[in-house]
Subunit: 530 residues, 2 copies
């Protein structure tokens, strides 16, 4: 808690008549079954990290379709009643609002029942899946099929591939690079019709999930962070399992060693020695994956942990101030050369330490380090509690996540700036730099708070608000925004008098004239709600 | 010439009042200068392979802007007069209509004057360019800057990067994979405003040309084969020059050896041994790059060359019935391992021959084989005359180019089917299979004809029409269409009662309500012309 208790009242935006929503829910229940319609207590279909008394972003009811036809029926009924719907996969958008909708009072479409893997093609290395398939589901389906394939996964394996990919969610294996895994989607449009992207726009075309473009404009990326349809099927590229994986961990001792660490990584990433999505974590991020703050530090929770104590925590964990993790994939003879090259390059950073292990497929599921398991495509939940830094059982976090050029100087400047912003609000700076390609990274920082401490939570929200706004002024924009800050984050993209937003709003009004699909997602509202 | 002379009259579609166009051209000349407005004889701004007497796809005037402000002025004037414009880069869309517009009687915007390389960033490996920059311009700019970078190029280096990439044009180096090279565009919208995609939507955001997505829906791929704006700047990823390149050529003797050739390539492509965009050429395609048909065969031009003569031509050139070309990029020690693995795999095909050479950067510009130069990123025009298979000086061709799954069986079946279709029309089957990623290829076949032989040209057009229609019935769609066949090619994408086209038409009407930008491109017409 800070000395003066900050005020933060999130805007509860509801512009739906409850009677219309109730009528729509009733009609949906008649169509798809009462047991697939959940009303009353939102239960888990809310933001798990929001104080209950705020009551922002709340759903009027959750419907769980079982088929494409169910989704079409839901959309048609919602359109008929003019009721907004909020589609999600598993509802694990934690850190960005969880299972809650942007606009309160509408209907949530949750895909936990549509979690079938429809096809795994080993020869061409892809799957066709329903939107609720989780990373764990996909992994299990591959393993039980015996196909020599692997799926690119994020740190937590409980989310859906559909939901994650459509929020531009990051995954770490080579196919996570530039969000490449998805190829070909089927979506229900706002009129209840069915659309397929790319070659799927032709009946019987077997290249639907194999080729990334269309004849005519390519529309598939519109569905990523968009609100122009509800995805009901996704093609997903799967990588053949390599002969071996070399897991690499590099630690550097001083905060400013981030500069050569990033520059070395960029050169190895650009020249193809390293593929996939490496990740750079700071000491406190790693500490948060192991235990709560109070385990590491007994100082005032309202004051950030000072540098020398962070050094001490690093020593206790035996990591650096910055820790780089990545993996190499391929034949053992090539891996040995790539590893030697990478080791030679990172050793030029004074005080650096490089550790590596090389493993074959039969070892991956049993790897002890959760990071190593993630880079081996084995979903897990080991880091599930990393958000619980402050307070008792109920720790929460929000992610502030700007994109930055992959140069040591820019990345380090940004970290200094972010840490300063966090610490001015009395919040420790945990950093997770996700290197999405060879030229840029997403700098994810978890703003952590104790959910049961309302003033501390409010302070965290205020800190986030300031960070989004101030980052925009110096040219840094979020890759993905929390529900509460979607409008503000989008507002920062002001080039050409907000030409991007105005262009997208025109599309929104054209393809969803009643404004029923995910209104407000990432700051894009339909005409009737602008 | 076939025995019965076929009739083919291309539809000349003109729905613009000449007086309005003249007024617009006059106003544009006043704004950007009379010397930048070309009227009268279309000269080179037409389809170079179309018989002049057909007079389809003809422009009323060509304007050549010199700045973004010029483009904005042109669009505003065109909008004011309701005059359609057709934007292009260099105007080298040969095989698909060349510099001609889809709709006759409008204004062509040609970017040959906007061919400046605005920035080359060696550290982050990218350039920012104007839309008229040709591959040759880009190569020259890199070389004169001294930056250790290379650009992914197609077979002919005269086209623009802007035009080529926005037609989903294929290039062969690693960054050609899945059309990955472009990152971040600036476009003039139909109202004359200026839009930037991705992180460029934020003023001062340095990740514009580094990160592939947006906050909110990703709209950049809408501008590829689209007609929603006119691109005025492009970010372009450039690959660091590797230590060496290994150029590999694999020949197989029999037509049916294509099956194991494709399957072997797919496995090596999927497991990462081979990156980039390999290419498989048949004997006649290679013959066409060397000399005219009459050099190789003295039989009736109206009858296709029989198999045993194709074998004889293969022997004369010393290639196989199918010839695979690709390159490996990296450190010499890794290249040696990758080459050994590839050689071992291809040798399993009985009768196959594998040749390779490994070269360093100082050797690339002087490589004698045009294919090797292309894979080394050195633009050239060596294959410029490959379209002149039949007739005298004025050979023409159109490309029929469906996408296919990368399995030996499917690719071979498609080649048999295409050859059959060509030969029934009396046309030799030249094949160029461009392996755009590890899962699919674009099967480009040049339908060649003698421009001075009008009945033969008409027969070629009829053959193309049949191929596009019949391919659609068996699930194969074109990746890119010739002006004459854009509507027909798009018509084949009928899933969900043409849900894709209807969705895109809604976008078209929303962002370009007067329908002035590239109407009819790839079958997408504005409301007033549907």
């Amino acid at each position: 808690m800070t000395a003066t208790t900050p005020k933060f009242i999130p805007a509860r935006r509801t512009e739906v008549e409850p009677a219309r929503v109730a009528a729509a829910l009733q009609q949906i229940a008649e169509k798809i079954g009462q047991d697939r319609v959940l009303t009353g207590d939102a239960g888990e279909f809310r933001d798990p990290f929001q104080p209950a008394e705020w009551d922002a972003f709340s759903t009027a009811g959750v419907v769980q379709p079982d088929s494409v036809e169910d989704v079409q029926a839901i959309v048609r009924i919602a359109a008929q009643h003019g009721v907004p719907i909020w589609a999600q996969g598993q509802g694990r958008n934690n850190g960005y609002g969880g299972a809650a909708p942007r606009l309160s009072g509408g209907i949530t479409v949750n895909f936990r029942r549509m979690n079938r893997v429809l096809k795994i093609d080993e020869e061409l290395g892809y799957a066709l899946i329903e939107p609720g398939v989780s990373f764990q589901d996909m992994y299990d389906a591959i393993e039980s099929s015996g196909a020599n394939l692997m799926v690119s996964v994020p740190d937590l394996g409980w989310g859906s591939l559909g939901g994650n990919s459509q929020d531009n969610g990051l995954t770490y294996l080579p196919y996570g690079r530039d969000f490449q895994a998805v190829c070909g989607i089927e979506a229900v449009t706002a009129d209840g019709g069915l659309l397929r992207t790319g070659m799927g726009a032709m009946d019987g075309n077997e290249s639907w999930n194999l080729y990334k473009r269309s004849l005519g404009p390519t529309i598939e990326p519109l569905f990523m962070q968009g609100n122009f349809g509800i995805t009901t099927k996704l093609g997903l590229w799967l990588m053949p399992k390599p002969e071996a994986i070399t897991h690499v961990h590099v630690d550097v001792r001083r905060d400013e060693d981030l500069v050569p660490l990033v520059d070395t990584l960029r050169r190895l990433r650009l020249d193809g020695t390293i593929d996939g999505v490496p990740c750079i974590l700071n000491t406190l991020l790693i500490a948060s994956t192991i235990a709560k703050r109070s385990h590491w530090y007994d100082g005032d929770p309202a004051l950030p942990i000072p540098d020398r104590q962070i050094d001490a925590i690093a020593d206790r964990i035996d990591v650096g101030r910055w820790h780089l993790r990545f993996a190499l994939y391929g034949d053992r003879n090539v891996l040995a050369l790539q590893l030697a090259k990478a080791e030679k390059a990172f050793r030029l950073i004074p005080g650096s330490r490089i550790r590596s292990t090389t493993t074959g497929a039969d070892e991956w599921a049993a790897l002890s380090d959760p990071s190593d398991r993630v880079y081996a495509g084995v979903p897990n939940l080991d880091w599930k509690d990393m958000g619980g830094w402050y307070g008792g059982d109920r720790g929460g976090h929000m992610s502030f996540a700007p994109v930055a050029p992959l140069t040591g100087r820019k990345v380090y400047e940004l970290q200094r700036w972010m840490r300063d912003g966090f610490e001015r609000s009395g919040i420790d700076h945990t950093a997770d730099l996700i290197v999405v390609n060879a030229r840029s990274l997403v700098s994810v920082a978890g703003i952590q708070f104790d959910i049961d401490d309302e003033p501390a939570t409010a302070a965290a929200y205020l800190a986030m608000q300031n960070l989004v706004r101030e980052a925009g002024k110096i040219g840094y924009g979020e890759y993905r925004a929390h529900l509460q800050f979607m409008d503000l984050a989008q507002e920062q993209y002001g080039f050409g008098d907000h030409a991007y937003r105005r262009f997208v709003e025109k599309i929104k009004d054209a393809v969803d004239p009643r404004g029923i699909i995910n209104p407000g997602r990432h700051g894009i509202w339909p005409g009737n709600l602008r």
